[in-house]
């Protein structure tokens, strides 16, 4: 019968019209600034640096090995070593910048980091009023505590803590042996 398909379509849209008032499966809109979706644990946005203890700069796990800088596909990480007065590089970054206007959130820096010092953040409200300077995050912007890491990625952070603890114990046990093998990359 001619018109059957069209009438079916009308019924369908009417059903959706009514459904949008009572059926949460149909009305999936979240009104963003007021309502926010709970992010899944794995959710990632831009990297941050984990620090232990209370001092965000001194406690950084980062040893400035520059592996992430090298592996980063869009080359958005910039690291300069801290040096002591004689110019010998220290295991600490002097500059650690991430240009989040370039970063593509691929998480490769996290995967290649042997020291579990760089992790993915979940903060997504990062809009700025300027295109260049304000979108470059510096060391002090990037440093976030281990507690914060536990808050956003609890499962992953527990696993990381367990590994680090095991390593530390192993390290203490073999204190006599000076060689510290780079632990295998996680994940």
């Amino acid at each position: 019968m001619f018109g059957k398909g069209i009438i079916k379509g009308f019924i369908e849209t009417a059903r959706n019209f009514a459904g949008s008032y009572h059926d949460p499966a149909r009305m999936v809109t979240l009104q963003y600034p007021e309502e926010k979706r709970a992010l899944p644990e794995n959710s990632r946005n831009f990297p941050f640096l984990v620090f232990d203890g209370n001092d965000p700069i001194k406690g950084l796990r980062c040893v400035s090995c520059k592996i992430c800088e090298k592996e980063c596909p869009p080359q958005c990480i910039y690291i300069v070593n801290e040096r002591d007065e004689r110019g010998k590089p220290l295991k600490h970054p002097k500059i650690f910048d991430i240009d989040i206007s370039v970063c593509m959130s691929c998480q490769i820096c996290v995967e290649v980091c042997p020291f579990d010092s760089i992790k993915m953040d979940q903060a997504y409200e990062l809009s700025a009023t300027e295109r260049f300077k304000k979108l470059i995050l510096h060391k002090q912007d990037l440093a976030k505590s281990n507690d914060y890491y536990h808050r956003i990625h609890p499962t992953e952070a527990d696993a990381v803590d367990a590994i680090l603890e095991a390593e530390r114990k192993q390290h203490e046990a073999k204190k006599s042996a000076a060689s510290s093998e780079t632990p295998p990359a996680k994940q």
Partner: protein
């Protein structure tokens, strides 16, 4: 609940009477020489005000309704429930830059929205909004309506041609072809009403429908020819007002914005408003011709212009529903629909109306039912057969698929 509703309706009817009296009284206070002009000013002001606010309301309704049909919320940020959204849109439109392409024909480009808009507002003058509420009760009101509407074709062409844009040109061509083609079925569909009512005065047409079968109204739509005519009229009206699924002249996904591509700011707003006003005008005509105008839907309810606007808005909602559901047809299919389907069917409907008229003498019990069945079959069967034949000839059919392993 029902009682309150009834009370409200009667209260409104009383108010309406009072309002009319008050208006008359107020006008009679003026010196006689001024009365005509004062009446004109009041009428024009009220009509423009009412339809402009109706326009604001229906843009909001459309966006909300479409949103809900698409499982979205629709505008809800400006004012409570987004009610002030049309105001915000208006401010936006008014403050936007008015861009005229360098190669455009400035004068024609400027005139096109006006030529579209002015005649459309004229056509509101002949619609009967309530008993004695006809701004301009012309003897040939229906003809006036179509005459006023015919200028919009010229406007679409002017807009398309003057923009000096190929998409605008295509849109303009489509608009003319479409409007001319669908004016035929539109006029012929309303002719059946003229034939039965014996008058072209819209007020008189509504008065003819003021009859009751027990408590149910005897509107034209409740006759076989009226039902078919109403359906055909609405389809033609959708095309005439460039509403989806016949919105080819704008054909957003194909030719960007059609003849409105190069319009911005206030001129675009006027086009936009013109589109809605066209929809109101043609819905108002449909209400007048087929749905009993200002007559109440049940005999014991008072007549009021509220009914007219309620019916008009109901039709507008149908338009919105259609827009939310159907994809657009193609230009050749549109022409086929107009000339090979709607036009012959409306012509046939004239004969069915005549048949209905001449079988009115069958007074025997069951005569009405027989009349109904006969007339309905006379229009419905050809409609279905022709539709089937068209589908067949193009080999349009649902398909069954085979599977490979």
């Amino acid at each position: 609940m029902i009682n309150t509703g009834l009370a409200a309706i009667f209260l409104w009817a009383g108010l309406e009477q009072g309002l009319g009296k008050l208006l008359d009284h107020g006008l009679s206070l003026l010196p006689p020489a001024w009365r005509t002009w004062a009446t004109i000013v009041v009428l024009v002001g009220v009509m423009l005000g009412v339809f402009a606010s109706l326009f604001a309301l229906s843009t909001l309704l459309e966006r909300k309704g479409l949103g809900r049909m698409q499982n979205r919320l629709g505008p809800n940020r400006v004012g409570p429930y987004g009610l002030l959204q049309p105001v915000a849109d208006g401010i936006k439109m008014l403050t936007k830059e008015d861009i005229v392409p360098r190669g455009a024909d400035g004068v024609v480009h400027f005139l096109a929205p006006l030529v579209l808009f002015a005649p459309l507002t004229l056509s509101f003058a002949v619609l009967p909004y309530g008993r004695h509420w006809v701004p301009l009760n012309l003897d040939a009101g229906l003809l006036f309506f179509f005459a006023a509407g015919s200028a919009s074709e010229l406007a679409a062409f002017m807009a398309g041609w003057s923009s000096r844009n190929k998409y605008s040109m295509l849109g303009g061509m489509r608009a003319i072809a479409q409007m001319i083609s669908f004016e035929m079925p539109l006029v012929v569909a309303s002719l059946s009403v003229v034939m039965i009512s014996g008058t072209m005065s819209l007020a008189a047409i509504v008065e003819r429908q003021e009859a009751w079968l027990w408590i149910f109204p005897k509107w034209n739509v409740f006759t076989p020819w009226g039902l078919a005519g109403f359906g055909l009229f609405i389809v033609a009206a959708m095309a005439e007002t460039n509403r989806s699924p016949f919105d080819l002249p704008e054909g957003e996904s194909e030719i960007i914005g059609g003849f409105m591509t190069e319009y911005s700011g206030f001129k675009y707003a006027v086009f936009f408003m013109g589109e809605y006003f066209g929809m109101f005008a043609v819905s108002g005509l449909a209400v007048t011709l087929f749905l009993g105008g200002w007559n109440a839907p049940l005999s014991f309810l008072p007549a009021s212009f509220l009914w007219f606007f309620a019916k008009l808005m109901a039709l507008v909602l149908v338009f919105i529903w259609v827009r939310g559901t159907l994809p657009r047809v193609r230009v050749d299919q549109l022409m086929n629909l107009a000339w090979k389907y709607l036009f012959p069917m409306t012509l046939l409907n004239l004969f069915v109306a005549a048949l209905w008229h001449y079988t009115a003498v069958w007074r025997a019990p069951g005569g009405l039912a027989l009349r109904w069945v006969l007339c309905f079959a006379a229009i419905a069967v050809p409609c279905a057969v022709l539709a089937r034949a068209m589908m067949r000839s193009h080999k349009w059919a649902p398909r069954v698929y085979r599977f490979g392993d």
